[in-house]
Symmetry: C2
Subunit: 279 residues, 2 copies
Amino acid sequence: MKIVESRSEAYAQVAQWRQTGASVGLVPTMGALHAGHLTLAERSTKECDKSVATIFVNPAQFGPREDFSRYPRTLDDDLQGLRDKQTDLVFIPQPEELYPAGFSTYVEPPSVALPLEGVFRPTHFRGVTTIVLKLFNILPATVAYFGQKDFQQLTVIRHMVDDLNIPIRVEGCQTVREPDGLALSSRNRYLSLEQRQTAQSLSRALTAVAKQVGEGILAVEPLEQSMHHILREAGIERIDYACIVDRTTLESLPQLDRPAVALIAAHVGDTRLIDNVLL
Amino acid sequence: MKIVESRSEAYAQVAQWRQTGASVGLVPTMGALHAGHLTLAERSTKECDKSVATIFVNPAQFGPREDFSRYPRTLDDDLQGLRDKQTDLVFIPQPEELYPAGFSTYVEPPSVALPLEGVFRPTHFRGVTTIVLKLFNILPATVAYFGQKDFQQLTVIRHMVDDLNIPIRVEGCQTVREPDGLALSSRNRYLSLEQRQTAQSLSRALTAVAKQVGEGILAVEPLEQSMHHILREAGIERIDYACIVDRTTLESLPQLDRPAVALIAAHVGDTRLIDNVLL
């Protein structure tokens, strides 16, 4: 497994692979890899001739009061995990390599970035679209893999790729969960044992909603109320949102008459967690 | 010369050329081609194995009160000109091909887009960076050619390419002028014979400044005053700017102690003209 820090080296390697006709899979990450990330790496290795991962904690997608500086860094473990999944190349740039002095061009994200996370983390998706576009240019892959746990992020990236005519296919991969349902997240490391229990209520609320829908309840309001109820019962006091929206536009809808998604963002102690389920 | 309207056909052709190792030159235009555009096409043909031009009057770079609907369209002449320069491929998309319903991702241009044109045409460069990035993705060329007549546009595109790590080289090409000095522009067609005379004062003012600098005048204020004076004398009443700035940052500077550029934007009747000279 080759590890590079420089943009030009990374580009040269991927361009050379593409030149020989090889397909290249890309797994962009912020490191602190868990089994969710590693299934992306595994799928990339399985589906593509060559597989590339990136590890970069992107300052542009953190708000001023968010956890950029304390975001977990576990480089040795990350590299071991990627090696195990037969990743061919890992790009680990220094911040100056991607944001040199004078950097000032950003991608203004598509309108699906406005609700949900967009309300609570107003500059987050601008940081995401900008870094993802940059990585797509530095590592011109055939296909890029993203987790569905960050459902709105995946939707934002799909829209950006369509709008800007980026010649990379985007694949969403199913959320990987703990046995009790908790969605894997690098931020789960922040949780105490007790908080870990409380956090489980996110997936419980989503599963309950999916079950209710399966039983024929199609009015959105009572379904959303039931999610709020389960979260509150578990002791969660700060719920950013727990709602059901159109799966493509992320606009709210009164009735489940088209593909939808239920999404939750809630705080457990100082840790902000998100999760979702397709309906 | 192949003419295509569809993004996918355009991409497939350029990608196929690149796959065989051919270099590809790109000349993005809004049509209404003049000898300036055609020198770009000529240079592309000379320097690259394959040469592509685009013709698209980009609505996103026109302001609400600007000349989008009356912008000159001269498709037959344009195609003949490109054929004469041995262009291999011309991409002429319909607006819906590039801006389908729901389009909402834009490129927020770099800070060099803020002064000068940015003050008088506040959404212009956002439209330019967005369409240029889209064309770069649809037509992944080796090198793209732009005229220096639009000096700030060229600077904005260079910064965008650097900031977003776009793997395309940007080449600026010298402004082509009429024998009396008037910079070629598709908008010169709007000018009456009398206005044509008045318009000539832009290049006259710039030449005068360059001469004064050659004679050792290095204080910016008197040089800018001299440009204003020449324009007013010629009967120009509406000067958006006539100023001298740092050639890289486009920031104002009191003294010519580094590479600079003098730029003018002024209205002759209903026609807005721009021109510049390197100092």
